[in-house]
């Protein structure tokens, strides 16, 4: 949620960017320029930033918002393909399914970067992240004969630019 902030930025800058992002979200949802609404939005953004700094301290890692935004069309398209894939399997008379778990070793250390990666890759066709075993993400797949791991590694290379790992694990 913190725009353009990295783990190297001072805490004050991170707090500022997060507040700005929350306020932008408020404006998007409220769509009102009345003074009372703006004041409420200001308080709400500061409150949200305070909570976010406690739940997701800057040291847990961060994401480069602009780079993630640049990848948005790609992931929207992937989720379209995912919907088509599920629909095809569901409506196919023979219902081609080979469900099973696939374990995928990844470069992202545990923490915010890996969690975000697991969430985003859950949008891909045929795979949903289902926890971790010994530092590797376990995916549940609709078709274990598909090149699931290769697909996920491809996404990892794309996302490596947008997700910044934290300074310490966890």
């Amino acid at each position: 949620m913190n725009a353009a902030a990295s783990t190297q930025d001072p805490p004050r800058a991170i707090a500022f960017w997060r507040t700005a992002a929350f306020f932008l979200l408020w404006m998007l949802l409220m769509q009102s320029l009345k003074r009372a609404d703006l004041v409420m939005g200001g308080f709400a953004s500061i409150g949200a930033t305070w909570v976010s700094l406690r739940l997701l301290p800057p040291s847990s890692g961060s994401l480069r918002f602009s780079r993630l935004l640049a990848l948005l069309p790609h992931f929207v398209w992937e989720s379209v393909l995912a919907g088509v894939d599920v629909a095809r399997r569901a409506l196919h008379p023979g219902m081609p399914l080979r469900p099973g778990f696939v374990t995928c070793p990844l470069g992202f250390p545990p923490g915010f970067a890996r969690n975000t990666f697991a969430t985003i890759t859950s949008l891909l066709p045929g795979s949903v992240a289902a926890g971790e075993v010994e530092g590797e993400i376990v995916y549940h797949c609709l078709d274990t004969s598909a090149p699931v791991v290769e697909q996920i590694w491809k996404e990892e290379r794309l996302l490596a630019r947008a997700l910044v790992a934290g300074r310490h694990h966890g």
């Binding site: 989720s79 088509v84 629909a87 219902m95 399914l97 992240a129 926890g131």
Partner: protein, 97 residues
């Protein structure tokens, strides 16, 4: 122009309804909870996305359209987060459920 926009709405909303249909067929046919989770999260998210796309010409302003797309992205993100955690509890409660 009105005709084209109306056509856009009808085609897109019909496509959205189709994916809700496919999602429900998946829920009824797929063999276990984890595969049903795929049907639920992926087909219905796309269905909602297409419905939103179809409704865009009907909203009064660009801002209202952005808000509509924002709602879909929020559902997409929270759906992906929720379904991976549901998948995690399903895996830990054992296969074949």
């Amino acid at each position: 122009m009105k005709l084209i926009l109306d056509l856009w709405t009808i085609v897109s909303v019909l496509a959205g309804a189709f994916f809700f249909f496919a999602g429900t067929v998946g829920l009824l046919r797929f063999p276990d909870s984890l595969t049903r989770l795929h049907a639920l999260s992926k087909a219905d998210n796309l269905g909602l996305g297409l419905v939103v796309l179809g409704l865009l010409p009907l909203v009064g302003s660009v801002a209202a359209g952005i808000k509509l797309i924002g709602i879909w992205l929020l559902v997409l993100l929270s759906g992906a987060t929720a379904s991976q955690w549901i998948a995690r509890t399903l895996r830990q409660s054992g296969p074949g459920q």
